[in-house]
C-alpha cells in the first residue's frame, strides 16, 4: 500500500466521526474526533483495513487554565502515522478501552489512566502500573498542575 | 549437529596470555577524545553563562561579583558533572575544554569536587563571602 492509498482509505473510514482532518507532515494524518465513544469503532475499522498497529497512546494536558485533556492514539503503517485525537473534559475525563480488540493496548491505557486521571472504561485490570500501589488518590503526575516536590533546574 | 563447538576457542586460549588490564599497576594510554575534568580559559570568557544554562547536571554556576568590571567566578561541581561536554560546544568563545588526562577523580573528601575558576582575588572574595554566610 502506498501512502496515498493509506490516507484515502483512512479518510473514508473516519470521515463521519471526525470534526476535521489535518496533515501536519507528509507522512502524518491527524484526525480530530467528535466523540470519544467512536474510538472503538474507528480503531476496529483501522485494524480491519490493516492500517497500522497501535504504536502508542499519548496523553496531553494543554495547560492549567484549559478545561480539556487530549488523548492521542497513534496507528503506524510503514512510514505513515494516523493519529486519532480526542478532547476530554478535565472534570470527568473518560474514554472506552481498546483491550477488547487490541490486547496490547492495556499497558498504554493503564499508564494513561494513572498519569492523567482519565477513566478508561472496560479496562480489565485498572491497578497502578508505573506508580507505587500506595500513590495518593487523585494525584496525576503528568498533568500540568502537578508540582509537588518539583526540582527547578 | 555437532558437539563441543567451542573447544577450539578454549584450546587456543590456553596458549594466550590473560587479556585483563593491570590497572592501576600499569596505566594504559586513554583515548584522545576521553572527556575528563573541565578546563577553563579565563582570558576568553565573557561570562555569558550559556554553559551554566545548558548544563544538564547543573554542574556549572556563574557567580558575578561585579558585572561592569567583568569580575566573575565560575564554580564547577565535579561531582555533579556527567562529562557530556555540552558546555564545551555551547561556549561561543571556545574557553572551555575537557581534559583527557585528568580523569582519576575519586577522592575521600569533598574539597576536590568544588572547583572555582577565575581570578585569584575574585575566588578569595567568593570564599570569604561563603564562609561568612556559613558561620
Amino acid at each position: 500500500m502506498d501512502m496515498d492509498t493509506i490516507f484515502q482509505t483512512a479518510q473514508l473510514l473516519v470521515e463521519d466521526m471526525a470534526e476535521k482532518i489535518e496533515k501536519p507532515d507528509p507522512d502524518r494524518m491527524d484526525v480530530y474526533m467528535k466523540n470519544p465513544q467512536d474510538l472503538v469503532s474507528a480503531a476496529a475499522g483501522l485494524r480491519v483495513k490493516r492500517l497500522g498497529y497501535l504504536a502508542a497512546i499519548t496523553g496531553l494536558d494543554p495547560g492549567v487554565d484549559m478545561d480539556v485533556l487530549e488523548v492521542l492514539y497513534h496507528f503506524c503503517t510503514a512510514s505513515v502515522t494516523i493519529t486519532l485525537r480526542f478532547q476530554l473534559p478535565k472534570k470527568s475525563p473518560s474514554i472506552p478501552s481498546l483491550c477488547e480488540i487490541i490486547p496490547g493496548a492495556e499497558p498504554f491505557e493503564r499508564e494513561l489512566s494513572e498519569m492523567f486521571g482519565i477513566k478508561v472504561i472496560g479496562l480489565p485490570n485498572p491497578e497502578h502500573l508505573y506508580l507505587p500501589d500506595d500513590w495518593i488518590e487523585g494525584d496525576y503526575p503528568l498533568r500540568k498542575d502537578f508540582n509537588r516536590g518539583t526540582i527547578s533546574v | 549437529m555437532k558437539f563441543g563447538t567451542m573447544i577450539s576457542d578454549i584450546t587456543a586460549s590456553l596458549f594466550k596470555r590473560p587479556v585483563t588490564e593491570k590497572y592501576p599497576l600499569v596505566r594504559y594510554p586513554v583515548p584522545e577524545r576521553l572527556r575528563g575534568h573541565l578546563r577553563w580559559d579565563p582570558e576568553k570568557c565573557t561570562g555569558c553563562g550559556l554553559c551554566a544554562m545548558d548544563c544538564p547536571a547543573n554542574a556549572i554556576e556563574m557567580i558575578v561579583i561585579d558585572k561592569k568590571a567583568k569580575r566573575f567566578v565560575m564554580r564547577y561541581h565535579v561531582d555533579r558533572c556527567t562529562f557530556c561536554a555540552q558546555c564545551v560546544f555551547s561556549c561561543r568563545q571556545g574557553c572551555l575544554e575537557m581534559s583527557n588526562d585528568t580523569w582519576e577523580l575519586a577522592a575521600l573528601n569533598k574539597e576536590p569536587f568544588n572547583v572555582f575558576f577565575g581570578e585569584k582575588d575574585d575566588i578569595e572574595c567568593i570564599l570569604a563571602g561563603s564562609t561568612a554566610q556559613d558561620t
Binding site: C76, P107, H128, V153 | K2, R35, F83, A85
Partner: protein, 406 residues
C-alpha cells in the same frame, strides 16, 4: 502418609499449583522486575509481571529542562541503547525547529547507531547464552564485544552514553585514523560473528535449549504487536530503517533480516545476521562519508508544533512524540520504548513451557527494563485469575500440614 495425602488431593479434585515469585531483586534478572509464574509440576500455567520498579519519571522531568538539557536526560533512559534515544529526540526536535542537519552529521549519527547495535546485539548474545547455560559463548562473545566498545570509546570518548549528538549535528568527526581502526575492528568482529552463527546453529546441546522453544507464529507476533528482532524472527517485516528511513538510511539503505521459525533459535539467527548487515552499513558509510560541516546553528526557542519520530533501536521500534509550545522547554515528550511492546509476548509464550525455559524466553526478547519500567500484563488460562496472595498461600500451607485439608 504421603499416599493418603495425594489421594486426598485427588479426591478434592485439586491439582497442585504453586506460584514461583521471581524478583524484584533476583539473581536471574539483571534489573528490578517482578514476575509470578504459576506452575503445575514443571509446566507454567499462568504468568504475571509487575513492572515499574525502575520508573524514574523522565517524561515529567523533560518539562522542567530546556531543549539542550533534555537531550542528555533522554540519553540516559537506557545504558545500552543510549545513542538511539538521543538520535530520535534530536531528529524530532530538528524537524520541529526546521533545522537542516548537515549530511556528514547524519552519516556519523547513523554510524554510531550501527556500532551501538553491534554492541547491543553482542551483549544480548552473551546474556542469552548465559541464560541457556552456555557460559563459554557468553565469555567469548563479551570478550569480542570489547572491540566495538573500544571503537566507540575512540570515536566519542566514552564506552556508554557517548554524548555524540548535539542538537543540530554531532560533536565528533571521523578522521582517517579512526576510520581505519573501525574497519580493522569490524573485520575482526565479522570473522568472530560468523563463528558464533555457526555455533548457535550447529551446537547440539545448545540447540536443545533453543530450537522449538518459545515459538511465536507470525499471526501471534502481529496480534501481540511485537517489534524489532523479536518480530522479525517470526517473519514479520517490521524494521523502521527499511519502512521509514530516517537520518542517513535514505542514502545508505538497510536490508531487512528475517527468519520464519519464531523460536529462540530464530531470534539468535536474526540478531546475528543483523550484525552482518551492520558491518556492511558501517563499511558503506565509511567509504562514502559525505563532506560537510558537522553542526548547524540551533535556535534556543522552538516554534510551537508537534512531531512524531520513529527509529529502529537495537530492540525494536522506538516512538517519540514531541510537542513544543514556543518556549525554550519542551511541552511534552512521550517515549514509547520497544520492550513494552515485546513484554506481552513473553508472558503469553511462557504459558505451557517448563519453568527452566522461562529465563531463555525472557532473554529472547532482549528485555530492557530501564527502558520499559511500566506495565502489568496478565494472561490467563482459565477465566478466573489464579493468583494467590501470600496470606492465602500461607494459610494453604498451614492447612495442608495440619491435615485440615481433607
Amino acid at each position: 502418609m504421603t499416599n493418603r495425602k495425594s489421594e486426598n488431593m485427588q479426591a478434592n479434585g485439586k491439582s497442585e499449583r504453586f506460584i514461583v515469585p521471581i524478583g524484584p531483586q533476583h539473581p536471574a534478572l539483571k534489573e528490578p522486575e517482578h514476575f509470578r509464574f504459576t506452575v503445575e509440576g514443571e509446566i507454567v500455567t499462568n504468568a504475571y509481571v509487575r513492572l515499574g520498579y525502575a520508573h524514574r519519571g523522565i517524561e515529567k522531568a523533560t518539562e522542567q529542562r530546556n531543549w539542550v538539557q533534555t537531550n542528555y536526560l533522554l540519553e540516559r533512559i537506557c545504558g545500552i541503547c543510549s545513542h538511539i534515544h538521543s538520535t530520535a529526540y534530536c531528529l524530532g526536535v530538528e524537524k520541529l525547529a526546521g533545522v537542516q542537519v548537515p549530511p556528514r552529521a547524519l552519516a556519523i549519527r547513523t554510524l554510531v547507531a550501527e556500532l551501538e547495535r553491534i554492541h547491543s546485539h553482542m551483549l544480548w548474545l552473551g546474556v542469552a547464552a548465559h541464560e541457556a547455560g552456555f557460559d563459554t559463548l557468553f565469555m567469548y562473545s563479551w570478550r569480542d564485544r570489547e572491540t566495538v566498545m573500544d571503537i566507540l570509546e575512540q570515536l566519542t570518548g566514552n564506552r556508554v552514553n557517548y554524548s555524540a549528538n548535539l542538537l543540530g549535528g554531532v560533536k565528533y568527526d571521523i578522521d582517517q585514523e579512526i576510520a581505519d581502526s573501525i574497519l580493522e575492528g569490524i573485520d575482526f568482529l565479522e570473522e568472530r560473528t560468523r563463528h558464533y552463527l555457526e555455533i548457535v546453529t550447529t551446537d547440539a546441546l545448545f540447540l536443545q535449549r533453543t530450537r522449538g522453544v518459545g515459538v511465536m507464529t507470525k499471526t501471534q507476533a502481529e496480534v501481540m504487536r511485537a517489534v524489532g528482532p523479536t518480530a522479525r524472527a517470526s517473519g514479520v517485516t517490521r524494521d523502521i530503517r527499511v519502512e521509514a528511513p530516517y537520518a542517513a538510511y535514505p542514502q545508505f539503505p538497510a536490508r531487512i533480516t528475517l527468519a520464519t521459525n519464531g523460536d529462540v533459535e530464530a531470534r539468535f539467527v536474526v540478531r546475528i545476521e543483523e550484525l552482518f548487515e551492520s558491518h556492511r552499513l558501517i563499511r558503506e558509510i565509511l567509504a562514502n562519508l559525505p563532506e560537510s560541516d558537522l553542526r548547524a546553528r540551533f535556535p534556543r526557542r522552538i516554534k510551537p508544533g508537534e512531531t512524531i519520530i520513529r527509529v529502529e533501536a537495537p530492540r525494536g521500534e522506538l516512538f517519540y512524540f514531541i510537542k513544543s509550545n514556543g518556549s525554550d522547554k519542551p511541552e511534552r515528550v512521550k517515549v514509547r520504548t520497544p520492550t513494552i511492546c515485546n513484554m506481552s509476548s513473553v508472558v503469553k509464550l511462557a504459558v505451557g513451557h517448563q519453568l527452566a525455559d522461562i529465563p531463555l524466553i525472557l532473554a529472547g526478547i532482549d528485555p530492557c527494563f530501564s527502558c520499559n519500567d511500566r506495565g502489568v500484563i496478565i494472561t490467563r488460562r482459565q477465566n478466573k485469575p489464579d493468583l494467590w496472595t501470600w496470606e492465602q498461600l500461607r494459610q494453604y500451607g498451614i492447612g495442608y500440614y495440619d491435615g485440615n485439608n481433607k
